[in-house]
C-alpha cells in the first residue's frame, strides 16, 4: 500500500464498581427504570458536591499498571467545561495534566509495540435517546448512567492497520476481565472506542498534518470494518492530491460508512482548571508497590507460562487462558491431577472439547471424572497384558460373545477387573474389549 495508516486509539472502559465515581448511587444502571439511580450529585442539582470513589481510583491504577504504565506520585482531578444535555453540571470531572497513569506499553503479536500515553479517571454522562412524543421529535435523558466511573486509555498513534486495533481491543477487554474491573463489553457500552486515523506516504517520517476522529463504533464486529473504511476513504482523497479534512466523523451502521458530523467548525475550548471541590491525590512508593503486588497474573504472562509449563498447542492455550476463571481452574485441576496421574493434556482436552460446566464441577472432581474414564491407575502395558491373558484363558466365552451372546462380555470384564484389582475403569475395559473382539 502506498500509504501507511497512522492510528491512535482512545478507549473508555466503564468500571464495575458498586457505586458511582463521585456519589454513592448504585453504578449498576443497565436495564433499570430511568432516573431511579440518581442523587443531587450525579443529577447536578444546586449545591451538590463530588466525593471520589477509592475503589474506582485503585482499579484505574490497576488497569494502568497492567498496561505497563508508571504511576506518578501526585495526581488531581480537573474540570472539563462544555455544554450538552447529557452533562448535568455543564462540566465533566476528568483529569487533564496530572493523570493517574502515564507512559505504558503493550506488545501485540509479531512483537508489535503500542505505546500507552496515559490512563485517567473521569465520570460518564447521562444516556440520551431519541423519540417522538406527541408528534414532535424529542430527546429523552436518563441520568442513571451519569457519574459512573470511566477509565480513559489513550495510545500513541502506533497502530498501522485495523487488525492490530482489534487485537489491542481484545487484549484490553481480556485485561479488564482478568482484573475483575469491568466486562468491557462493547455492545453493552462498557468499552467504547474512538480511533484517530490518518495516513502518511509509505516510508515518510513524522506524523501527517491532519487526523480524523471516528465516533459511534458500537460493536466489536464493526471495528475492523469502520477503520478499514476510513483508511480507504482517506486514501481516495489523497490519491486525488487533496488532504482529508481534519474533522470528527461518525460510523453509520446502516450505510456501513463514516459520515461527516454536522459539528461546529471550531475546536472545543474546554477551559480546563483544577477541580476545587476535590483535594489532590498523593501516593507513596509503598502504596504503588502494594497495588502492583495485588495484580493477578495477566493474560499475556499466563499465556507465556502455559507455553513453558505445558506441552499444549498455542490454540489450546489461547482457549484456556481466554478467561481468568478458566485458566485458574485449569491450573488447579493440573495440580490435583498430579496426584492421580491425570495429565495436563487430558485435562485440557476435556475442558476444550467436552466443555463441562466448570462452575458446577470442582477441579478435583473433574480430575476424578477423568480418572474414572481412563485406566490411569494401571499402566497401559500392564492392562494390555491382563487383557491378553484373560482373552487367551477364556476362549469359550470369547466364542460365545462372537456368536452373538453379547452379555458374555460382562464375564470377561469381571475377570479383567479381578486381575487389575479394581484399578481399571469398568467402562474403559468394556470399550477396549469391544474393540478387540470386533
Amino acid at each position: 500500500m502506498k500509504y501507511t495508516p497512522v492510528v491512535g486509539l482512545e478507549v473508555h472502559i466503564e468500571l464495575y464498581t458498586k457505586s458511582k465515581m463521585f456519589c454513592s448511587c448504585s453504578a449498576d444502571y443497565f436495564g433499570k427504570e430511568p432516573n431511579t439511580h440518581t442523587c443531587p450529585v450525579c443529577l447536578g442539582l444546586p449545591g451538590a458536591l463530588p466525593v471520589p470513589n477509592k475503589q474506582a481510583i485503585e482499579w484505574c491504577v490497576a488497569m494502568g499498571q497492567a498496561l505497563g504504565c508508571k504511576i506518578p506520585l501526585f495526581s488531581k482531578f480537573d474540570r472539563k467545561n462544555y455544554f450538552y444535555p447529557d452533562l448535568p453540571k455543564g462540566y465533566q470531572i476528568s483529569q487533564y495534566d496530572k493523570p493517574f497513569c502515564v507512559e505504558g506499553e503493550v506488545t501485540l503479536s509479531g512483537d508489535k509495540k503500542i505505546r500507552i500515553t496515559r490512563a485517567h479517571m473521569e465520570e460518564d454522562t447521562a444516556k440520551l435517546t431519541h423519540a417522538k412524543v406527541e408528534g414532535k421529535n424529542v430527546s429523552l435523558i436518563d441520568f442513571n448512567r451519569s457519574g459512573v466511573p470511566l477509565v480513559e486509555i489513550v495510545t500513541e498513534p502506533d497502530f498501522e492497520n485495523a487488525q492490530e486495533v482489534v487485537e489491542y481491543l481484545k487484549l484490553l477487554q481480556q485485561t479488564a476481565r482478568y482484573l475483575g474491573v469491568s466486562q468491557a463489553d462493547m455492545e453493552k457500552g462498557d468499552m467504547r472506542l474512538e480511533p484517530n486515523i490518518s495516513l502518511k506516504k509509505a516510508g515518510e517520517k513524522g506524523l501527517p498534518g491532519y487526523k480524523v476522529e471516528v465516533k459511534n463504533i458500537n460493536s466489536f464486529k464493526f471495528v475492523e470494518k469502520a477503520i478499514s473504511f476510513e483508511i480507504g476513504r482517506q486514501s481516495e482523497v489523497l490519491d486525488i492530491g487533496q488532504i482529508p479534512k481534519q474533522e470528527t466523523r461518525g460510523w453509520n451502521e446502516q450505510k456501513q460508512a463514516t459520515l461527516s458530523q454536522r459539528s461546529k467548525e471550531e475546536a472545543h475550548d474546554y477551559r480546563y482548571f483544577p477541580e476545587p471541590d476535590i483535594p489532590p491525590i498523593r501516593w507513596n512508593q509503598n502504596q504503588i508497590k502494594e497495588l502492583e503486588k495485588k495484580l493477578p497474573e495477566l493474560p499475556q504472562a499466563k499465556f507465556k507460562k502455559f507455553q513453558k509449563e505445558y506441552a499444549l498447542s498455542a490454540y489450546d492455550i489461547e482457549i484456556l487462558t481466554r478467561e481468568k476463571s478458566t485458566a485458574d481452574y485449569f491450573e488447579e485441576a493440573v495440580s490435583a491431577g498430579e496426584k492421580h496421574n491425570v495429565t495436563a493434556k487430558q485435562i485440557a482436552n476435556v475442558i476444550i472439547n467436552k466443555k463441562p460446566d466448570l462452575e458446577k464441577t470442582l477441579p478435583a472432581q473433574l480430575v476424578q471424572n477423568i480418572k474414572g474414564q481412563s485406566t490411569q491407575n494401571i499402566k497401559q502395558a500392564d492392562l494390555d497384558k491382563i487383557l491378553e491373558e484373560v482373552l487367551k484363558s477364556n476362549p469359550q466365552i470369547v466364542d460365545s460373545y462372537k456368536a452373538g451372546k453379547i452379555n458374555a462380555i460382562q464375564v470377561l470384564i469381571g475377570k479383567v477387573m479381578q486381575q487389575t484389582k479394581g484399578q481399571a475403569s469398568a467402562n474403559e475395559v468394556k470399550n477396549i474389549l469391544e474393540k478387540l473382539l470386533s
Binding site: 451538590a48 458536591l49 448535568p88 462540566y91 477551559r271
Partner: protein
C-alpha cells in the same frame, strides 16, 4: 412584657428552658414582626409560617417532657436563600430558580434542624451571592433597618436586615468575598466568616468553590459562637471540609485578651476614610486597655487582592453556574441577571484558551503570596484588627452603574477569603447614626480566639444594645 424580639439567643434559650416563655410564643412574636416589617425591608423572600409554628410546637412538647434541649431549640432563624431547604422554595434570589423546590437539605440546614431550630423563612440576597449591597437581587433590594434609604450590605443583605430589625434571632449566610462580614458591619451585627473547610458547603449553591464559606449573623458574640458549635464539623459529603475536631467555642469565651498580640496592617489604613479610621483606632485602644499588645504589621500583597479575587471568583462562577440550563430544573439561562451574566463572561474569558496562563494561573500564584503574607504575620501576632468596608452604608442606587467601583469596595474583605483564614466582624460604633464594624482576623481554625477577643471588646463597649428605629 419584654419585647422578646429584642432578646439575644442566649437569653431566649434561658427563658425557654426555664419555662418563662413557650417556644410557640417566641416564634409567634418573631413571625409577627417579620410579617409587619417585611414589606418595608424586603428581607425575606419566603416566610415559612406553618413550618415554623409546627416546629415550635414540637419544641414545646420536648420542654413539657422535660427533655434536654439541643443548643438552638426553639430559636427562630432565617436562612439565606442560597441554602437548599428540602420542600421549601429556594431561589438563589434569581429568576432562574424562582419556583425551585429542592429535593434535599443542605448539611448545615440538617444540622440546625437536628438542633430543633425554628426556620422562619428564606432571606433575600444579591442573586447568586454576586454583590455587596443586596441591589442585585431579582426580587428587589433589601433596606437597611438603620436607614431605609441605604443598603444593608451584601450579598447576605436579607439575613443582616432580618436580624438587625428583630425579625429573627439569627440568620445563616455565606461569605466568599465579605458577604457576611460587610452586611454585619453595615447593620451593627456580629458576623463570622469561618476558616475555609470548617463548615460544610454541601447543599449551598456554589459561587466560588475554593473561597465559599458558610457563616451566620447574630446580635452578640456568644450567640454567634453557639451557632458555630452546631454548624461546624467534617462532612463526608464535602471533600473540602477539615477532619479537625470542633472545639467548644463558648467555653472560656470570657477569657479576655490579656497578653494577646494584635496587629494592625498598615496597608489597610492607608487612605482609609478618617472617620472610619478613628473608629478602628478607638477600638484598638480599648483592646489595649484590656491588656492586648497592639503592633503595626504589614501585609505587602494587599493591593493585589481585588484583581486576584475578581479573576479567580468569576472563573469558578462561570463553571459553577453552567448547570443552570433549565433542563432538569429552573428556567433557562436567559433568566440570569446582568451581574451574573457579566461574571460568567469574565470568568469564561479568564479560563479560555490563550488566556488561562495570564489570568487564572497568574491569580492562583498571587493568591499563594497573599496567604503567605498572613501566615508570616501570624508568626508575630495572634490576631489582626482591620476595617470591614472603606465606606459607610451607601444609598440605594448610588453605586449600581459601575461594576469596577463596586468591586474595589471589597478591598478589606477579599484577602481573607483568598487566604482561607477566619474573620469575625463585631460592631465597633456609629458614624452619623450608621453602624461601623471591625474585623478580628486570625490564623486557620482560630475561631475560638476570635470569639474571645470579640467578646472582650463587646462586653466593654456593648454596641449591640443599640437598636434601629423601626
Amino acid at each position: 412584657m419584654v419585647d422578646v424580639t429584642n432578646l439575644t439567643l442566649q437569653d431566649a434559650s434561658k427563658m425557654l428552658s426555664s419555662k418563662q416563655i413557650k417556644a410557640k410564643e417566641l416564634t409567634e412574636a418573631f413571625l409577627d414582626r417579620t410579617k409587619k416589617l417585611n414589606e418595608k425591608l424586603n428581607s425575606f423572600i419566603t416566610i415559612t409560617e406553618d413550618i415554623a409554628l409546627k416546629q415550635a410546637e414540637k419544641v414545646d412538647k420536648l420542654i413539657e417532657g422535660n427533655q434536654k434541649l439541643p443548643p438552638l431549640a426553639g430559636m427562630p432563624i432565617g436562612v439565606k436563600d442560597l441554602f437548599c431547604t428540602k420542600g421549601i422554595k429556594t431561589t438563589a434570589a434569581s429568576k432562574v430558580l424562582e419556583n425551585y423546590v429542592p429535593a434535599y437539605d443542605s448539611t448545615v440546614v440538617s444540622k440546625i434542624k437536628d438542633s430543633q431550630t425554628v426556620i422562619l423563612g428564606k432571606t433575600n440576597h444579591d442573586a447568586w451571592a454576586h454583590g455587596a449591597s443586596g441591589e442585585n437581587s431579582d426580587f428587589g433590594p433589601t433596606k437597611n433597618p438603620y436607614d431605609l434609604e441605604r443598603v444593608p450590605g451584601g450579598s447576605s443583605s436579607g439575613s443582616a436586615a432580618a436580624v438587625a430589625s428583630g425579625q429573627c434571632i439569627a440568620a445563616l449566610s455565606t461569605d466568599t468575598g465579605g458577604s457576611t462580614r460587610q452586611p454585619a458591619s453595615f447593620c451593627n451585627l456580629v458576623g463570622i466568616k469561618p476558616t475555609y473547610g470548617r463548615v460544610s458547603r454541601y447543599g449551598v449553591m456554589a459561587m466560588a468553590s475554593s473561597l465559599d464559606t458558610i457563616g451566620h449573623m447574630t446580635k452578640t458574640v456568644w450567640d454567634n459562637a453557639q451557632i458555630l458549635n452546631v454548624t461546624a464539623g467534617n462532612d463526608t459529603n464535602d471533600a473540602t471540609t477539615s477532619p479537625r475536631p470542633v472545639e467548644d467555642y463558648i467555653k472560656e469565651i470570657e477569657k479576655g485578651v490579656k497578653g494577646k498580640r494584635i496587629g494592625l496592617p498598615r496597608e489597610y489604613f492607608d487612605g482609609l476614610d478618617p472617620k472610619i479610621k478613628s473608629v478602628i483606632d478607638k477600638a484598638s485602644k480599648e483592646l489595649e486597655n484590656l491588656g492586648a499588645i497592639i503592633s503595626d504589621i504589614s501585609l505587602p500583597h494587599t493591593q493585589y487582592g481585588i484583581a486576584t479575587y475578581y479573576i479567580i471568583v468569576p472563573s469558578e462562577i462561570s463553571s459553577n453556574l453552567a448547570r443552570y440550563d433549565g433542563i432538569r430544573y429552573g428556567n433557562g439561562r436567559d433568566s440570569f441577571g446582568a451581574e451574573a451574566k457579566r461574571r460568567i463572561i469574565l470568568g469564561t474569558f479568564a479560563l479560555s484558551s490563550g488566556y488561562y496562563d495570564a489570568y487564572y494561573l497568574k491569580a492562583m500564584k498571587v493568591r499563594r503570596l497573599i496567604r503567605d503574607d498572613f501566615v508570616n504575620a501570624f508568626k508575630n501576632v495572634d490576631a489582626i484588627i482591620a476595617p470591614v468596608s472603606p465606606t459607610l452604608p451607601f444609598k440605594i442606587g448610588e453605586k449600581v452603574n459601575d461594576p469596577l467601583t463596586m468591586y474595589l469596595a471589597d478591598v478589606y474583605t477579599v484577602n481573607v477569603n483568598l487566604a482561607g483564614i477566619p474573620s469575625l466582624t463585631v460592631p465597633a460604633g456609629f458614624i452619623d447614626g450608621l453602624p461601623v464594624g471591625m474585623q478580628v482576623i486570625g490564623p486557620d481554625f482560630s475561631e475560638k480566639l476570635l470569639y474571645q477577643i470579640g467578646s472582650a471588646y463587646e462586653q466593654k463597649t456593648k454596641w449591640y444594645k443599640s437598636k434601629p428605629n423601626i
